[in-house]
């Protein structure tokens, strides 16, 4: 039984860590601000969700699991709010998204 719990926990934690690193690499390599924001949301959905799920599996039915669930609920409500505020602030300040046309004309000599 504990072997299965450990295996499930391993899978969730490794998957969560993988998606966190994928999101961070996207944050580093995407071409403009709005695409970077899209990459960073991977960290807050799949990465955070899988890591918290792995910890909850390990904690069992205790108060610790309830606290982990509260952390998850906080992330799931707060991070879309922060992302929305960021995008709106950037649009209000006049930061234009990089479009496909700009890219093709920019790459021409």
């Amino acid at each position: 039984m504990t072997t299965w719990i450990d295996a499930l926990s391993w899978a969730c934690l490794v998957g969560g860590g993988f998606f966190c690193i994928v999101g961070a690499v996207g944050l580093l390599r995407m071409p403009d601000f709005y695409t970077r924001m899209h990459a960073a949301s991977v960290i807050e959905t799949l990465g955070a969700g899988l890591i918290l799920l792995g910890l909850i599996v390990q904690a069992g039915l205790t108060l610790v699991a309830v606290k982990l669930l509260m952390v998850g609920v906080l992330i799931f409500f707060a991070s879309p709010t922060a992302t929305h505020a960021l995008a709106r602030a950037a649009m209000v300040r006049g930061l234009k998204p990089l479009l496909a046309d700009d890219r093709s004309t920019a790459s021409k000599p």
Partner: protein, 95 residues
């Protein structure tokens, strides 16, 4: 062992996000990177609690998350408006 692996992955994530915060051409890139670092630090606190066998760290993670959200929104409001006391109405006034 599995908690150590997850903690290492989260530390790598923080390092990459810090590089973006240092490079980031615009202010909003830096704000986004700071927000990501905050979220990952919250997860790292939870994982470290399990790594040490001290789940009390989860309370710290909760407080850190709440402060992170408030901090991000306050910084954005300041840089959008230049004033924290602004009511924050986005529409242009009618001409």
């Amino acid at each position: 062992m599995m908690f150590a692996a997850a903690a290492l992955a989260l530390l790598a994530t923080i390092a990459l996000a810090l590089v973006r915060a240092a490079l980031g051409p615009t202010l909003f890139d830096r704000a986004q990177a700071a927000n990501s670092v905050g979220t990952v630090a919250m997860l790292l606190l939870a994982v470290l609690g399990f790594l040490d066998g001290r789940p009390d760290f989860l309370d710290l993670a909760l407080v850190y998350g709440l402060l992170n959200v408030i901090g991000t929104i306050a910084v954005l409001k300041y840089f959008r408006r230049g004033d924290l006391g602004d009511p924050g109405i986005d529409e242009e006034p009618a001409k």
